[in-house]
Symmetry: C2
Subunit: 210 residues, 2 copies
């Protein structure tokens, strides 16, 4: 592969990609072509990984019964979350569109292997959570590549992790990371839904000196 020689073009495009990448909750139901999904899957191979351990484990949830169970679990967890807020925050919360499980054509359950052979333990003796950090970066890689291909991705965390492990029958060493919905978006936006809905405005990153 060519070396990177066009840094200005790269920077400009990346900035646009980051600006238009969004957590998508509104999906069209038409299927995503398999070759495009292969591209997404392969992109995860290029994610950074502490110790090169690549501990992310991805299950493609196709079974309608299992999808239904995940949806039911989300509804239960989401109700509990809503009930934990006082009025009027609970009413605000109830207005949010937090899932796209009902429509997204592609759904992935992502886990972290907490005891991988790969990597030989490097970099996780002081910080075991580096494994989950790697999974997060692999999911973010997938997110950006999906967006560049015109797809939307929504990441769902309002799910009981132990229950997700049970539903997906994963090994005991796998820890639930998140549930990803993927499909063509119904609309595009450069402002997060949670900002637009008034739940939480954007804040700026500072780099304080120390």
């Amino acid at each position: 592969m060519d070396r990177m020689t066009d840094s200005p073009a790269m920077s400009a495009l990346l900035d646009r990609l980051l600006t238009w990448r969004r957590d998508v909750r509104h999906f069209r139901t038409d299927p995503v072509p398999e070759p495009l999904l292969d591209t997404l899957r392969a992109a995860m191979d290029k994610a950074p990984s502490v110790g090169n351990a690549r501990p992310w484990r991805v299950l493609r949830v196709e079974n309608p019964a299992l999808r239904g169970q995940v949806q039911a679990l989300f509804e239960r967890c989401n109700r509990a979350a809503r009930d934990s807020y006082d009025t009027p925050a609970a009413a605000d919360y109830a207005q949010l569109k937090l899932a796209g499980i009902d429509r997204a054509p592609v759904q992935l359950a992502v886990f972290t292997e907490t005891a991988p052979m790969e990597g030989r333990g490097l970099g996780r003796q002081t910080m075991p959570q580096t494994l989950e950090q790697s999974t997060a970066m692999a999911v973010h890689t997938l997110w950006l590549v999906a967006r560049a291909q015109g797809l939307g991705l929504g990441m769902m965390s309002i799910l009981d992790p132990a229950e997700m492990a049970r539903l997906c029958r994963v090994p005991a060493s796998w820890r639930f990371f998140s549930y990803l919905c993927i499909g063509f978006p119904e609309f595009e936006d450069d402002t997060p839904l949670l900002h637009r809905s008034g739940w939480q405005a954007n804040t700026a990153t500072r780099w304080d000196r120390c």
Copy 2:
């Protein structure tokens, strides 16, 4: 800002960027221009964040005494990690270049605010670790933007997190994430150092059905 209309060009460039993004441990010592650092800092604002909480906290470590303390802490933790391996893995480990603290012109200590007001708790009742997932994606965003600008970034996790919090005098609610070294790289490579050194070969991501 223009909408994303040039998806094929975007995809090709992103693939090249992901391929050439590396964890860099060999830095040139010339300084990074401040406007370029502003670009990197601003890019983190575009990272995904559960609940739009943006819990990453970044400290720019400039003080030479503090840099020395971090370097000493790394050497202590790295020695302990090396000693945990049997021969010949311990010898393999000792050959690895795991830090660039001695030379990198820009050094950032990254933490996660575990009790942010922003986001109003959304998405972390079932999974408190979503905050650290967000920090990981913000660091990955920074990594890609740095690479697109010709800079290299190395992420260091072989540091005792409690000791890092003490050295940087952060609030009790901040949890150490990683230490980032940034600068112009001495060389470019499309293969991870840990693969090239024989520590851990690359493995492919599978999406099994369930």
